[in-house]
Symmetry: C2
Subunit: 203 residues, 2 copies
């Protein structure tokens, strides 16, 4: 059986939980307390992920895959959540790299500071205005797309939607106000209505 | 013909230039002066990339693809730089997402501040120590792999190597000392020896 090393508060972990549930893959859940440094023990670094991050997915034969968006692509291959058209795949990856570079470091990091860790350094406090601005810029780009289409790529939900949904639907926990984003809000309801959906609070 | 919107100083742009050259795709080169805001004009945002970033690759039929690593994957499909094995593809994407989250925001950003823009705000100055530390941590992870294998994934060069090579081989311009990284240095020479290689300074 699969083993998921994860933290229940993590949106990156939620991406993996969601694709595993949507594709009917059972898994053992190992909670890693990142605030207590459990993702940086010598054992974790040596056997799970040298980058000291969750989520990481371990297969029955011992192989381990890190990086939430890489796990999404691998587990979705051959399912309805992975387009077969090369251009749709390209757009899907474009959204997923956008997520890790322009969205997650702003929206997820502010949520981590405010909601998960509930404290921040002076330097982090100084960074908040620019992370807030960049987070809204990322939301604006999503809104431009989702005003015109039901899903980020093509005519149905793909792993690009899962990648962007993870931290967008809890952006309020990072201090973001989504009330001015009707396209995003309709899309959030669309994702939640997918058969097999389970919330971020569920292992 | 393809049109590449790029800035010659950009390692992300270099990734695209390199895969286009290695795969024999001719392209028009449009230099975008990012320091003068040319990637944030209303026209650029509306027709090239709403995220205001280079590189972006425009196809003859008008389609545009943004995000360097998504472009790498799309242009490498069907070539020797894209593995066909699903597990190797998963590892390749894992390295590429690692690059955009754990490597580029540290090594490329310090290079941008020191080498490209040559000035920095007080806040940026405060961020330097943690970016330096995180940059070396990323290099250490690469070194662990490249001590044991010639390439990041499998037995030959893939787009994962191109993605990580782009900013690693000019990390000294961001103040990084690569002298303690024999695995990385041998790999850099290996990439440079690939047939069709052209340096970052070449359009």
């Amino acid at each position: 059986m699969l083993t998921l090393y994860d933290n229940i508060e993590s949106g990156n972990g939620f991406k993996v939980r969601l694709i595993l549930k949507l594709t009917g893959n059972a898994y053992n859940y190992v909670h890693i307390d990142i605030l207590k440094g459990e993702s940086h023990t010598p054992d974790f670094l040596a056997t799970i992920n040298p980058n000291g991050r969750i989520p990481a997915l371990k297969f029955e034969d011992g192989r381990v895959l890190a990086e939430s968006n890489a796990i999404l692509c691998y587990m979705a291959e051959g399912t309805r959540f992975m387009p077969t058209d090369p251009w749709q795949r390209a757009q899907m990856l474009s959204w997923m790299f956008f997520e890790q570079y322009s969205h997650e470091p702003n929206i997820a990091v502010l949520r981590f500071w405010h909601h998960v860790r509930s404290e921040f350094s002076d330097l982090e406090k100084q960074l908040m205005p620019q992370k807030e601005k960049a987070g809204y810029a990322a939301l604006n780009i999503m809104e431009s797309q989702l005003t015109h289409t039901d899903w980020l790529v093509g005519d149905s939900m793909t792993v690009a939607d899962i990648a962007l949904f993870a931290y967008t639907h809890v952006a309020d926990e990072g201090g973001f106000d989504l009330s001015g984003y009707p396209g995003i809000n309709a899309w959030i309801e669309r994702v939640k209505a997918i058969d097999g959906y389970a919330p971020i609070t569920e292992e």
